[in-house]
């Protein structure tokens, strides 16, 4: 088959844009959160400084091979997820490697980084890491369910698994967005979205003062820097999926920036308003509120 080698620089470009956007947007959201607490909050470029500092630390330790590879998996997961999706609708330049697979690939590739991270954290031998991982897995297992159903519902609605085609079907005005054509599925998916954003009330798995930040408790220096980089890319990539599926996708970078920002803000908004759930509470929450919505969305589509 012919491979268009230009896709490689384009891919780098995509990653570059998203990293920067991710750092800035993250800090902005942080500042907005701080404003809710009547603080000024961090400087807007703070995340850059943190990453540079962490890359600049002179020592590091390793607990073993998997520990070493954990952050690599994590970042690969984020970058891969981003690159397996057509980020900008209608743009060949930013469709990257979406020829390799469709929506399903994206959905399952989400777990690539999670799995690697979990293994790396596991090898550190720290019980808090393991506790954090188990909490996260348990919570996500139920949070994913309404999302999976919503995706199924949307796929049924548009009779395709191709992200591009789903976005294409939503073009031509806001009222064509899935948000309005299939509101139940979107409601279910947005509840699931909250569960996957590592923000309150669903952040018990990193509970900083209980199990000092859970899985990454042993990570530092450049490992941590990689993970911070991923923290910039991964949420954006994930939100891009939601955006594409439910909110009409993005035809240009600015549109993407705006939509992602508001989606991110949604989770931050909920996060500053609500306290933290215990694991079984959040499982029950999803089971009671989100899952029925998901079932309904499958049934009515």
């Amino acid at each position: 088959m012919d491979f268009d080698w230009m896709k490689i620089p384009y891919a780098f470009l995509t990653v570059f844009i998203v990293v920067n956007y991710g750092f800035l947007m993250g800090a902005l959201i942080q500042k907005i959160g701080a404003r809710a607490g009547r603080r000024h909050g961090i400087p807007i470029w703070q995340y850059y400084l943190d990453v540079i500092k962490n890359y600049g630390l002179r020592t590091s330790i390793t607990h073993g091979v998997m520990f070493y590879l954990g952050p690599v998996f994590r970042l690969s997961g984020g970058v891969g997820l981003l690159l397996f999706m057509p980020v900008i609708y209608g743009s060949y330049m930013f469709s990257n490697f979406s020829f390799a697979g469709d929506l399903i690939l994206a959905l399952y590739f989400v777990f690539f980084g999670t799995l690697g991270m979990a293994l790396g954290a596991g090898e550190s031998g720290h019980p808090h890491a393991a506790i954090g991982v188990t909490r996260g897995l348990q919570q996500v297992s139920m949070a994913e369910l309404p999302f999976a159903m919503a995706v199924f519902s949307v796929a049924l609605q548009y009779q395709t698994l191709s992200i591009t085609e789903i976005v294409a079907a939503q073009q031509g005005g806001m009222m064509n967005w899935t948000l309005f054509t299939n509101p139940i599925a979107v409601a279910a998916a947005m509840l699931a979205f909250l569960g996957s954003m590592m923000r309150p009330p669903f952040d018990v798995f990193i509970a900083p003062q209980e199990i000092p930040i859970g899985p990454p408790t042993e990570y530092h220096s450049s490992y941590l820097a990689l993970m911070q980089t991923n923290r910039a890319i991964f949420p954006v990539a994930k939100i891009v999926i939601y955006m594409n599926l439910f909110f009409g996708g993005a035809g240009s970078w600015p549109e993407l920036f705006v939509k992602v920002f508001f989606l991110y803000l949604f989770s931050a908004f909920v996060g500053v308003c609500f306290p933290r759930f215990r694991v079984e509470q959040s499982i029950r929450f999803f089971l009671v509120w989100a899952v029925p919505l998901g079932v309904l969305s499958i049934m009515v589509v």
Partner: protein, 215 residues
Amino acid sequence: MTTKPELMKRMVKGPDGLEFEVDPLRDYYCEAPPTVMPGAYIQIVEDFFNWARSKSLWILGFGTGCGAIEMRPLMTPRFDAYRFGVAWRPTPRQANLFIISGYLSTKTLKRAIRAYEQMQNPKYVIGLGSCTINGGMYWDSYNTIKKLDEYLPVDLYIAGCMPRPEALLAGFEEMKKIIRTGKAEGANQYAENFAWYKANQKRVIHDWDMPDYNW
């Protein structure tokens, strides 16, 4: 030296019937001593890193003494230390700045040493309050230490009993200057004078139940 049973050497029988000795201190802990870590080879890169380090001070959230009470207001809207790139991290692995907040009992000293050694180079120590300087009101206490820099390489003292949060903020700014000028090499000092520090530490800590350097 150690009397803790869990650290004593013991004979263990494996599932295949093989008997062998387990020495916890050797088998469960890394024995390597700390080394002096030079900065980046190109000075400008090192300066760049120092600048970033000074802008991103991650404090280990470990309140060793009564002074810790003065650190909490820093997170509040009134002082809002986050503005200055100061943040708290729950784990020493990710922290760069260790604030010894007041007196250190020998018991706490042991924990403080562990936590300090688990931080990554470069790492900084700020002594908070008089107790860390000369023992303060505990100067003749039987179980607190008097001069912190005999045990850990202190970069900066913030005097007072207690120093107010404003003083702390000022201290952070001072710390940033030290870092930016490349003089905050406490970790390397510690590695250089490792034997001396250890001797001091072991002099006051009688139940030394850990390896010499806690990686």
